[in-house]
């Protein structure tokens, strides 16, 4: 084993390494040199047969070669890995302009979302949620609300009757007022919100026979129309934004006295006057009033010591307003193309 021959190993090894075309071939070459029976390994094993002097010089030389080999193989391996990766990446070019696969997410109905928005506003104001049956006793739906059997107001409320004597499909959520008063049994304050279905015999672009309402009732000592206005203004701002303006007009409901309706600025023209608002700049949004003394009595409260206000709000109308829908019937056709438009963010995190 002479130094010259060992020197030529470097060139030989370098040539072989450069000749290898794949990582596998490179492994083979590495094995031939550095493997258990590789040339360098064998040569190192053979050192013991040399004289002490030779052992030192050849040993040093061999170590140098081994270092060189390790570097050479590592460097080449890295190069080849990079090449290999580049090739793989080139092979795997994918048309990322293809449409993505959307997650299968579900959706809550816009009516549900609007209902929750309203509930949230009033829960924050300390109102509790109450519920009543949809198949309602005529007494709760009419008489208790000061609508006697022959009252002209029944003229306004065209009701669905059913083959259960004395029962009616509730025409509004107002009977929950009476049910809540009875449940509270004279306790004060009463602060309730009653969302739910109601039914009337109407079907056109602005009326459907089944619809959703929210009823609110507050009873305490000294409650006034001014409190009602204040509450409704807060509600309007919470639901429709701070820019909204409100207007109150006298109205009539058999179960409130005085009664009033609230208008808000028209969404289409922002108050300038257009076809939607009949050139008035206002659209009606709800009916309200001070609870009629007889209704308080029917619920077991004394009108001489307490007073209260109530209002009823159509969820559909508010939904239409919030989402900008012009035909009420669309909400109940459950057309997926229509509903799917409610998926994108509406600009209101709470909705």
């Amino acid at each position: 084993m002479d130094a010259q021959r060992l020197d030529s190993w470097k060139d030989e090894m370098t040539r072989e390494v450069m000749k290898a075309e794949s990582l596998t071939e490179l492994q083979t070459v590495r094995h031939q040199w550095l493997g258990r029976k590789g040339k360098i390994t064998n040569a190192m094993k053979g050192l013991s047969s040399l004289s002490i002097e030779d052992r030192r010089t050849v040993g040093q030389q061999l170590n140098g070669i081994r270092e060189y080999a390790l570097d050479l193989f590592a460097q080449r391996e890295q190069e080849m890995e990079l090449q290999e990766e580049t090739r793989q990446l080139q092979e795997e070019v994918y048309d990322m302009t293809l449409p993505g696969l959307w997650p299968d997410v579900g959706l809550l109905h816009p009516i549900t979302r609007t209902r929750r928005l309203i509930e949230d506003v009033f829960l924050r104001m300390g109102f509790s949620l109450e519920y009543g049956p949809e198949v309602e006793d005529e007494w709760y739906n009419f008489e208790a609300l000061n609508i006697p059997a022959d009252h002209p107001a029944r003229d306004m409320q065209d009701s669905f009757f059913i083959d259960l004597p004395g029962m009616v499909l509730r025409t509004h959520t107002s009977p929950v007022q009476i049910r809540a008063m009875k449940k509270y049994d004279g306790a004060l304050p009463v602060r309730i919100l009653a969302p739910g279905r109601a039914f009337r015999r109407d079907d056109d672009a602005t009326h459907v026979p089944m619809f959703f309402q929210v009823e609110a009732l507050v009873i305490d000592r000294g409650i006034s129309l001014a409190d009602l206005k204040g509450t409704l203004n807060i509600m309007a701002h919470e639901l429709l934004g701070d820019g909204i303006k409100t207007r109150f007009r006298p109205s009539y409901f058999p179960f409130t006295e005085p009664s009033m309706e609230m208008d808000v600025t028209c969404a289409s023209c922002r108050g300038a006057g257009c076809r939607v608002c009949k050139e008035t700049g206002w659209v009606e949004i709800l009916g309200s009033g001070m609870v009629h003394p007889q209704v308080l009595k029917n619920g077991g409260y004394d009108p001489l010591t307490v007073s209260g206000f109530a209002f009823g709000l159509g969820i559909e109308r508010l939904t239409m307003r919030i989402f900008g829908i012009d035909d009420l019937r669309l909400l109940y056709q459950n057309d997926m193309e229509f509903l799917s438009q409610f998926q994108p963010y509406t600009g209101r995190p709470g909705l």
Partner: protein
């Protein structure tokens, strides 16, 4: 109701502009549906004088009439009128004028001669002027005067929507103007005088409850009268038809002061008048040309032989006035509002009289209305003699309610002084009486302090009330646990990819049958449905949900995953007729899609049930059953049980034959009753994650027909191995050897790394047990 600005000015001469009036009406609670100018088309019609009339050279019945217009312009038109000679002054409309019937005048050629425009009859102008062709005008206005100026210029008409409380007193110009005058602080001319009734026995009131006050007065008049033009103008402006002077005057009084009057031709009345209940089956020919069969619920005005009129609702044709009438028998009565309202609805006669009487009229008007009528007859110059008259019943004394200004302030939340409150009430016609506030006789709607509060609030405007926020002890609002639980279910299903829909609560027997369901005897029927498809309250959400699938699939081929949580209705339970049901439907058809098809599977629906049951702690269990609801596929059916063992619903596939009716090959459905109790209370059991690696073994087994996964899963549980964590099917195929299932068994230990031997031991035990079922390892 239509109101005319000009008419209102009769009572309030200083009325501000129509725009201000419109705003005030809104503030007072009268909804202004529209506000339109009236009379525009009368603008181009002008007064001309006839200078020459010659026969048309080619037609016997036509004439060429030359007229002088303003500035001596001469125009010749062809006319077929029989009157209109030199020196007569008539109304002329030039080409381009739009006539009241909608025609637009053009220059027409009549038998060879051009006729630019037209000379008009009163009828063509929309008015009545007696039997003459052209309207010969005897007023002294200068030539060229526009007809509109004769009318008093343009008017503005308001279409008003009245709430029921306003309709009680407000369906007339007098009441409306009183409100405006009060709110604008303007003088108001009440214009009422009283008629002095005689004491001649002319009538008997049999049912005094239905008719508390009944007045009759006879007026002898000259025949062939014409209604004064100013009354015609006002009636036309509010859309009333002109009929006959005697009737036009009653109409005028009706809209002027709100008292319906009825004029009988006295010569057609036989003997004394009777106000009585109709006899069952009695027939009356009413003025609208119909024959009405009456019942004893109807009140009639009759003579000694027959019913003459349906009291307060409509007159009969047998006693109607005509141009020849010389003796008018004028009825001014006060009826019980409910009786009239009911008759109106029963016979569907929504006459103006019934719409007034049915809401309640002013009893005092029984006395004032005939006086007004008499004055108008006198003004027309046709009143020859006031005949006999009688009033039966007495005008009730005015009502008073206590004056409680503090109560009013509290209810409104204002600081208005007693004086301000009283002043407002007085402007509206209320007075301070001895014991309280005297209510005007037409205000039946006012009963107590809240009503008076409403009056002043309306008058001063709700804007005057400063909003404030009530103060109560702070306590958080409470949602209902039951409903919050339902909301959790809704949120969960939406998160799982299902879309919430809301369907109507109505359905019909045929819609139920179409879904393959049998209508139950427990359904609740709607007595007065809007349409045939909505005759009952749904006993199940399913038909409506399937129809929702159908309507969507009819338009586009998409897969659908829908749910609804809503009430269904039944008479099963004695006092609560609804319970909440959850229904989930999903189309089960693969849809082509790149890079892999979208293929929903029934097991995904089942998986949603399993997941929801855990997520919402529903405490449900389920079992495959060989039969269930008739519309369900019996081979793929799970019954769902509550903890007490009762069936609450099903999950599976609708029979394909039924699914096809709804534009889908296969539909997975899951419907169940949602219990009123929120989910089962579950103690939280969160454990540490396992630290030692899991060992996975896949076993391919040949499973005989009839052995369910459930059986195999149960066996894995019998092993009671603490290291076998799960056994899930990962592959299946069917060959000539039977079913082959590949199961993945996952092993893991809480306290050590498992050895092959430990895992192998469990697998051998498992195989041994399954061997008894005929399960073998696939070679």
């Amino acid at each position: 109701m239509i109101a005319s600005y000009r008419w209102l000015q009769r009572f309030v001469p200083e009325l501000p502009s129509p725009d201000v009036v419109g705003e005030k009406l809104t503030q007072l609670g009268w909804e202004v549906v529209s506000k339109k100018p009236w009379g525009l088309w009368y603008e181009p019609v002008e007064l001309v004088e006839i200078t020459k009339r010659v026969k048309h050279p080619h037609a016997d019945h036509l004439s060429l009439i030359t007229v002088r217009r303003r500035d001596n312009v001469l125009t010749t038109v062809v006319s077929g009128a029989s009157n209109g000679f030199a020196g007569d002054r008539v109304w002329y409309a030039q080409p381009g004028t739009r006539l009241i019937d909608g025609r637009i005048l053009e220059t027409v050629t009549m038998r060879g001669i051009d006729s630019p425009g037209m000379l008009l009859s009163a009828h063509e102008l929309g008015f009545e002027a007696g039997p003459q062709d052209l309207w010969i005008w005897d007023g002294d206005q200068p030539l060229g005067t526009h007809f509109l100026d004769v009318l008093g210029g343009m008017d503005t008409v308001f279409e008003l929507e009245l709430t029921p409380n306003l309709a009680i007193f407000g369906q007339n110009m007098r009441a409306l103007s009183r409100e405006l005058a009060a709110s604008l602080s303007l003088p108001w001319n009440s214009r009422s005088t009283e008629f002095s009734y005689g004491r001649v026995p002319m009538a008997n009131v049999i049912d005094a409850q239905a008719c508390p006050i009944y007045g009759l007065a006879e007026f002898r008049i000259k025949p062939d009268a014409v209604t004064p033009l100013w009354i015609q103008i006002l009636l036309k402006s509010i859309g009333q038809r002109l009929i006959h002077p005697a009737v036009d005057l009653t109409n005028f009084v009706l809209w002027d002061i709100g008292q319906p009057l009825h004029a009988f031709d006295a010569d057609k009345v036989d003997g004394k008048i009777e106000v009585r209940n109709a006899v069952d089956g009695e027939v009356l020919a009413t003025l609208d040309g119909s024959e009405r069969t009456l019942s004893s619920y109807d009140l009639v005005i009759a003579d000694q032989n027959r019913a003459l009129a349906l009291a307060g609702v409509m007159g009969g044709s047998g006693s109607a006035v005509s141009l020849e009438t010389t003796r008018i028998l004028l009825e001014s009565a006060h009826f019980d509002a409910q009786r009239i309202f009911q008759t109106m609805r029963r016979h569907q006669i929504y006459s103006d009289a019934a719409l007034h009487f049915g809401k309640g009229t002013d009893p005092h008007a029984v006395v004032t209305a005939p006086a007004q009528y008499q004055n108008l007859l006198a003004e027309m110059g046709i009143l020859e003699e006031i005949g006999p008259s009688q009033m039966i019943g007495i005008i009730p004394p005015s009502r008073q309610v206590p004056f409680n200004p503090q109560g009013i302030r509290q209810l409104l939340g204002v600081g208005w002084s007693d004086e301000r409150i009283l002043d407002g009430l007085e402007r509206l016609g209320f007075e301070k009486g001895e014991t309280g506030i005297v209510i005007p006789s037409d205000r039946h709607d006012v009963e107590g302090t809240p009503d008076l509060a409403e009056e002043v609030a309306r008058l001063y405007g709700l804007d005057e009330i400063e909003p404030r926020m009530f103060v109560v002890s702070a306590s958080p609002g409470r949602p209902s646990t039951r409903v919050s639980y339902q909301e959790l279910i809704r949120n969960s299903l939406a998160a799982a990819g299902y879309w919430e829909v809301i369907t109507r609560s109505f359905t019909s027997p045929s819609r139920i049958q179409r879904a393959g369901m049998r209508p139950s005897p427990d359904v609740i029927n709607v007595v007065n449905p809007l349409r045939d498809e909505e005759t009952l309250l749904r006993p199940s959400l399913l038909p409506g949900m399937l129809e929702t699938l159908e309507s969507n699939r009819a338009r586009r081929d998409i897969s659908l995953s829908l749910f609804e949580l809503a009430p269904v209705y039944t008479r099963e339970t004695p006092d609560f007729w609804q319970y909440d049901e959850l229904t989930v439907v999903r189309t089960l058809e693969a849809r082509k899609r790149y890079p892999r098809p979208d293929s929903p599977h029934l097991l995904e629906l089942k998986g949603t049930l399993e997941w929801l049951n855990q997520k919402c702690g529903m405490g449900l269990s389920w079992k495959q059953v060989p039969s269930g609801p008739e519309f369900m596929h019996p081979g793929r059916l799970l019954a769902i049980y509550r903890r007490d063992g009762s069936v609450v619903g099903y999950l599976g596939e609708v029979r394909p034959r039924i699914a096809q009716r709804y534009h889908a090959k296969r539909i997975g459905v899951w419907f169940m009753r949602i219990s009123d109790d929120p989910g089962v209370e579950i103690a939280s059991r969160i454990r540490r994650p396992m630290r030692y690696p899991e060992v996975v073994r896949d076993l391919s087994l040949i499973v005989p027909q009839g052995v369910s996964y459930q059986t195999i899963w149960e066996i894995s549980h019998q092993l009671q191995s603490s290291i076998l964590q799960s056994l899930t099917p990962i592959d299946h195929y069917r060959g000539d050897f039977g079913h082959s299932w590949t199961f993945r068994l996952v092993f893991q230990s809480e306290d050590k790394t498992l050895t092959d031997e430990e895992v192998e031991r469990v697998i051998q035990q498992f195989l041994q047990l399954t061997q008894d079922l005929g399960v073998t390892m696939r070679q």
